[in-house]
């Protein structure tokens, strides 16, 4: 296991093996996505309160899960990079950022679309919505910082520090926002606290969550491969792979 991880950390091996994984991961993504959408949109019964409109949940909830999951994952990789100085770890962090921001945006947007028929407003300053919005700001700040620093390696390391600072802060931000909200306006959105969900809705939801994870894995590996190639463009193995095209 350790040996495999060591091997995986070498850019060349990473490039080769992930190239083989990506088609499989992509195929699995499509399959789970189709299955999840089929069961979610067609098979699952309508909600007794919200009717059909609850079905946006099958996009909204997995996207929100992913938005947090990716941030924690980025913090994990940044930690690895800062401690052991493994180049590939920061490739993964940098490649994840835009995906994380997109999932956060997707969660906010679908939430807003869902909120309009349910609460009668596109946006309420509910604690969860607000902390999700702040999470989006954290992602965008990270992306802006990495884009602003010219040297890629420095950019990734600086971004790593920011992510780690952010991950210490996220629980504090989350609970302070929750506290702020409960003091300000009380629980007006009890509808959001879902009563124990029925199995016929839970299964498509979980399939969608798996599908979103697979999608993330597929795309992040594709992005990471491109990033590895770009960083290693002067090394022998990349030249060998692409021959004369890169030489000039």
């Amino acid at each position: 296991m350790w040996q495999f991880l060591h091997k995986l950390a070498s850019p060349r091996y990473f490039y080769d093996i992930t190239g083989k994984w990506i088609p499989w991961l992509g195929g699995l993504t499509v399959m789970t996505l189709l299955a999840g959408l089929y069961y979610g949109l067609l098979k699952a019964p309508p909600d007794y309160q919200q009717g059909e409109s609850y079905r946006i949940m099958f996009i909204h909830v997995p996207a929100a899960w992913m938005s947090m999951f990716i941030y924690v994952l980025m913090a994990f990789w940044s930690g690895i990079n800062l401690i052991w100085n493994i180049k590939l770890a920061d490739v993964m962090t940098v490649s994840s950022a835009t995906l994380g921001a997109s999932f956060t945006f997707l969660a906010l947007m679908t939430g807003s679309l869902w909120g309009k028929p349910m609460w009668g407003a596109w946006w309420v300053w509910d604690a969860r919505l607000t902390s999700e919005l702040i999470l989006l700001f954290l992602y965008l700040g990270y992306i802006a910082l990495v884009a602003a620093i010219e040297d890629r390696r420095t950019a990734a390391r600086a971004g790593g520090v920011l992510i780690l600072v952010g991950v210490v802060n996220i629980p504090i931000i989350h609970y302070s926002v929750e506290w702020w909200n409960t003091l300000h306006q009380g629980p007006t959105v009890t509808k959001l606290d879902k009563p124990s969900i029925h199995l016929s809705m839970l299964i498509p939801l979980l399939i969608m969550a798996v599908s979103f994870k697979l999608y993330y894995l597929t795309v992040v590996l594709m992005r990471a491969r491109a990033e590895v190639l770009d960083r290693e463009r002067r090394s022998a193995w990349v030249r060998e792979l692409f021959g004369a095209k890169l030489a000039n």
Binding site: L145, I149, T154, V165, V177, L183
Partner: protein
């Protein structure tokens, strides 16, 4: 070790007092933002009283950010920062000295100005007292957190706006607890909970932020 700490603090304070004009700028900025609110929103006393804690705190937050921007700039440009990185003393301690010196010349004056602004916005006395208390705990917190962002952006030519983007989200808990305490004090409620929260955040920042600042500086300068 503490000698180095003291020496660096003394140097920074001395440098600050040699440029007195620059010292006044963040304060003026703080004052002006607060002045804009009655003009932009409404001069009505009841409304002003209601929004005063938020207005003063947001102004303090922005003023802190703007004054922080140059925390490491001149040291970075004349090479003093590299000397600090190379010195045998722990960088986190030196950084703490710089942040502390900066707070003494920027945060402390804000603390002195705040009661006046409170009066201008018709805040009741207990609220002004609470405002002072939250600013006393909160502004060092702002300096410590902000310094992380400054350290990350010190090598960049146009770090200013970027700094705001990086740091604003991290300031949110401070803003929430502080304004909440002031609002509660104005309503005659106890504020010990919020103050303890702020104080614990300060302790947390005091222990962790210097390490993060030092790590960020090493990355930015190398």
């Amino acid at each position: 070790m503490f000698q180095a700490f003291k020496a660096l603090m003394k140097r920074d304070l001395l440098l600050a007092f040699r440029h007195r004009g620059e010292l006044a700028n963040p304060l003026l900025f703080f004052f002006m933002i607060v002045t804009l609110f009655p003009l932009g929103v409404s001069p009505e006393v009841t409304l002003l009283r209601k929004i005063a804690p938020g207005v003063i705190w947001i102004a303090a937050l922005l003023a802190a950010l703007f004054s922080l921007e140059n925390l490491f700039r001149s040291d970075f440009e004349d090479g003093a920062l590299e000397q600090m990185l190379l010195s045998p003393q722990p960088l986190s301690l030196l950084v703490l000295a710089k942040v502390l010196a900066h707070w003494l010349v920027s945060g402390l004056p804000m603390l002195l100005l705040a009661p006046l602004l409170g009066l201008l916005l018709a805040m009741p006395e207990p609220a002004i007292a609470a405002l002072e208390l939250t600013l006393a705990i909160g502004t060092p917190l702002l300096s410590l957190i902000g310094a992380i962002g400054v350290a990350l952006t010190v090598g960049l030519r146009r770090g200013g706006v970027l700094l705001t983007l990086l740091i604003m989200p991290l300031y949110i808990p401070v803003l929430i607890f502080a304004t909440n305490a002031v609002t509660a004090a104005a309503a005659g409620m106890p504020i010990a909970g919020q103050i303890y929260f702020l104080a614990s955040l300060l302790v947390l920042a005091l222990t962790l932020a210097p390490l993060a600042i030092a790590a960020a500086l090493r990355i930015s300068v190398s």
